[in-house]
Amino acid sequence: MNGLKAYLTRLAVDGLVSGASQLDACLHFDLTFAEVETVLLELGLCPARYQRNRQTVSSAGQLALFRARVVVIGCGGLGGYVIEQLARLGVGRIDAVDPDCFDESNLNRQLLATLANLGQSKAGAAAQRAAEINPVVRVVPHCTAFSAANGRELLSGATVVVDALDNLATRFELVALSRELGIPLVHGAIAGWYGQVATQLAGEDISACLAGAAVGEKGVETRLGNPAFTPALVASLQVAEVCKVILAQAEGARGRMLVCNLLEMEFEEIRL
């Protein structure tokens, strides 16, 4: 191990270690990319792919992101962008949960939907995409719907859960189970020009903000649709919340929900 540390320190330039140097270290010491990554971050060095993270995320923070496990429930409009950004941010393990396959109606907004992968699994596409972006991120695809039956298993060991669902009944189950297990949850929902984000930290219950006045499965998205820009925005807000939870900087989000109106460029804060 000391040999590896000396090797990495020698290869670092201004604290940065290039991907090629990291690969050299893997071959030289017969280790995986992820194993070298851990040592590198523990030394306070920075993989060159994160050099633009550096002023925002400390070495210790980057290591916390690498050790984190984020479970993303839903890999559609929100989930696709969420997983993309988590992979670029450097979250070490991402569980991508979605039973569906891409169809043509997804092309207008779902980042991972392409002409080439129509008919293919959304969770599987998320794993493929992450592998193209970041060699140390492991995306585990689960081609299944989150439910009360499999929820505990899916959330087991999660650092944070992301609600990227598209129906209310499952969302309430997810919010309740996350609360019971004490796992922070970052909620997002969209419809037309409008979106909302809230973080449920330990001891909080955001379900009052998610309920409708009537009993139903869907919101106004059934009438308003979902254009490209709303999921991209709301997913970005969610990933910022996930990042802060992992970096222990999320207390400012306690007790608040943000509602976005892109048509009139208005942002409204609601107290939970």
């Binding site: 839903g74 559609g76 409009g77 929100l78 989930g79 609600d163 990227a164 669902l165 598209d166 129906n167 209310l168 969302r171 997002g188 929902a189 969209i190 419809a191 037309g192 020009w193 409008y194 979106g195 909302q196 009052a208 903000c209 998610l210 309920a211 409708g212 006045a213 009537a214 139903g216 499965e217 869907k218 919101g219 106004v220 998205e221 009438r223 308003l224 979902n226 999921p231 509602v259 109106n261 048509l263 009139e264 409204e268 609601i270 107290r271």
Partner: protein, 74 residues
């Protein structure tokens, strides 16, 4: 009594985003919703003076009622 009614997002289509309205004593949130022609199935958060309320909540003079649509897409 006079109540300030604030509507958000899609509920502003064809309606005033903020309006001071007069209602008889004892009027509820449901009465405002009916008066504004808002479909109940589309309603999410309802707040009176920034506190969460339900449809059956009675209004008081000077209250501010805010109504948001239910967003459920992902």
């Amino acid at each position: 009594m006079q109540v300030t009614v604030k509507l958000f997002a899609s509920f502003r289509a064809g309606r005033a985003p903020i309006e001071i309205c007069s209602y008889p004593a004892g009027a509820t949130v449901a009465d405002v919703v009916a008066h504004k022609g808002i479909p109940v199935a589309e309603i999410g958060i309802m707040l009176i003076n920034s506190r969460h309320v339900q449809l059956d909540r009675e209004l008081a003079e000077g209250d501010t009622l805010a109504i948001f649509p239910l967003l459920g897409g992902g």
